[in-house]
């Protein structure tokens, strides 16, 4: 088993090792250890790839879309799970379409819509689609969480004089904490890694997110392998660090999100 898991780790280890080797060394001895440890390549790659800009863009895009999803989906989930209203079944049915159809089914006309509203090359062009695409699954999961709770909790709030909106803020949000963590994990990861819409909607270098920016960088510096390995390493290390710290939540979030 330990031999087998080398298969998963070696590529990443090779990537980090190659970031320390000059292009000449990479070609001469791809498997060899670096001759010297020179950290200066990392700031150089960081600047050349404009990683500061890419990271800020990714953080803004991801955080905004995740917040929109969490707020809107938890509100809707509360209404669908606990309140009886006329069109509830129909509206929920419409939402389930979003669970089935992939982005391929609608991105062509969505692109026209984004163009029509003059949103190309703006952050909104990614934030809104990421929020909309994650919405259905988020509502579904959060509704399942609320469905499993005893109805007395919500009725007690009503008896105490809480209106629906007040109940949402005072009762629903605190109760949904673990559900919200799950939804946050997969909303954040899918927005952080999204690529198809990112290359279609954003052409301006200074607005690109990490995936599309990295692609441009790899096309611009095709032969500067050391630099590319360094950029890959800079992107990978913090993600692996965050994952190792939160690995339980991350694994649970991703598997739960896909099993339901």
């Amino acid at each position: 088993m330990s031999v087998y898991s080398l298969f998963y780790v070696t590529p990443l280890f090779w990537m980090i090792m190659s970031a320390f080797k000059s292009n000449g060394e990479i070609f001469q001895d791809p498997l060899g250890l670096p001759k010297s440890i020179d950290l200066s390549v990392f700031p150089r790659a960081f600047k050349a790839a404009m990683l500061d800009k890419l990271m800020i863009n990714s953080i803004i895009t991801t955080a905004s879309s995740a917040l929109i999803i969490l707020l809107c989906a938890s509100m809707a989930a509360f209404a669908f799970s606990r309140l009886n209203f006329k069109s509830s079944k129909v509206l929920l049915g419409i939402l389930t379409i979003g669970l089935i159809v992939p982005v391929q089914s609608y991105f062509i006309a969505q692109n026209q819509l984004v163009e029509f509203f003059n949103l190309k090359d703006t952050r909104v062009a990614l934030i809104l689609p990421y929020a909309g695409m994650g919405m259905a699954l988020a509502i579904w999961l959060l509704k399942a969480y609320l469905d499993s709770m005893p109805k007395e909790v919500f009725e007690a709030a009503r008896v105490d004089g809480c209106g629906d909106i007040q109940t949402y803020f005072k009762i629903v949000l605190p109760l949904l904490r673990s559900g919200i963590a799950t939804v946050a994990v997969f909303s954040i990861l899918s927005a952080w890694n999204e690529f198809l819409l990112a290359i279609i909607y954003i052409q301006r270098e200074d607005l690109k997110t990490i995936p599309s920016g990295l692609l441009t960088f790899s096309q611009k510096y095709v032969t500067d392998y050391q630099m590319l390995f360094a950029a890959l390493t800079i992107i990978t290390i913090p993600m692996v660090a965050v994952y190792v710290i939160f690995n339980r939540q991350v694994v649970a979030g991703l598997t739960e999100g896909s099993l339901k």
């Binding site: 990537m15 990479i26 989906a73 992939p102 006309a109 909309g132 919405m135 392998y225 694994v251």
Partner: protein, 292 residues
């Protein structure tokens, strides 16, 4: 319970529904509409009837893209789902497996673009990790231009997909295996069943529904494959790694054939819906025939 006022339910659901309609529902119907149009993105579209569909069914590259994605799905069912299941089986009968689980899941959360750029280097014919290892072991003739050779390009991509997602299915199957009651396994062990027998004859049949969901995820996810193909090979060489989505993007954004691209999107959507429907039927019939 009854809403506190007539309007509160709608206040609560409307933000989510509005965003969803604007982002998913309207574009979905719009794409369906565009699939019957002749349009290059400028000027006004004209009605084309079923011309785009007729063209799609006779377009050799589009048909080839389905063959390719079919091969990709078959390969990844083994490299991702089956490997994930076997890994889960091996790890479930051991203790202190956290390190392995953490290590095997790392590729899942990396952006596909990072994975693709990295593996383009690993497959590089001159300094790539794979050829370097092959040469070191003395099999000089096995060194390949992995992604540039029509014979190896598609399978090379499948392999990367396996590297990424087997850890994901490992996690899913592990969650399933933890729900198998301990007493059933213990009584089988008392009867003298070996670990592998317990796994294949008891645990695997008991997590059948998890396996079905995993297969469905692998198949529908495979049809949508894009990032790996776009970054690693761009569909080449000679369309051997062209998949429906890369072809769609090429038709719409490079050739400006928006109507034709939309018809491809509609056909892919139908395929996903049919597969989803068939699976839900299989699952229903499965539930009545096997009981525990």
């Amino acid at each position: 319970m009854k809403p506190s006022s007539r309007w509160t339910p709608f206040i609560l659901v409307s933000p989510a529904l509005l965003i969803f309609c604007f982002i998913v529902l309207v574009p979905l119907t719009g794409t369906l509409g565009l699939s019957f149009a002749r349009w290059n993105g400028f000027g006004s579209p004209s009605f084309a009837g079923i011309e785009n569909y007729h063209r799609a069914f006779t377009d050799s590259v589009f048909l080839k893209s389905f063959r390719n994605v079919g091969i990709y799905i078959l390969a990844t069912l083994f490299l991702e789902v089956l490997v994930g299941l076997i890994l889960a089986g091996i790890l479930s009968s051991r203790i202190n497996t956290t390190v392995y689980r953490v290590a095997l899941f790392v590729p899942v959360m990396l952006p596909m673009v990072v994975v693709s750029v990295l593996w383009r280097f690993i497959y590089n014919p001159d300094f790539g990790l794979i050829n370097a290892i092959v040469r070191k072991l003395g099999f000089e003739s096995f060194a390949q231009v992995w992604l540039g050779d029509p014979k190896t390009a598609l399978l090379s991509i499948c392999f990367v997909s396996g590297w990424v997602y087997s850890g994901f299915y490992l996690a899913i199957f592990t969650a399933g295996l933890q729900r198998v009651p301990r007493d059933i396994i213990e009584s089988a062990q008392l009867d003298g069943a070996t670990d592998s027998k317990v796994f294949w004859k008891i645990k695997v049949p008991m997590i059948r529904s998890v396996s079905e969901v995993s297969a469905l995820l692998c198949i529908t996810g495979g049809i949508q494959g894009f990032d790996l193909f776009y970054v690693m090979t761009g569909g080449g060489p000679y369309y051997t790694t062209e998949v429906p989505t890369t072809y769609m993007v090429r038709s719409v954004f490079r050739d400006q054939e928006i109507g034709f691209g939309s018809s491809l999107a509609v056909l892919v959507t139908f395929l996903v819906l049919i597969i989803g429907f068939v699976f839900s039927r299989i699952r229903k019939s499965g539930e009545t025939s096997i009981e525990y």
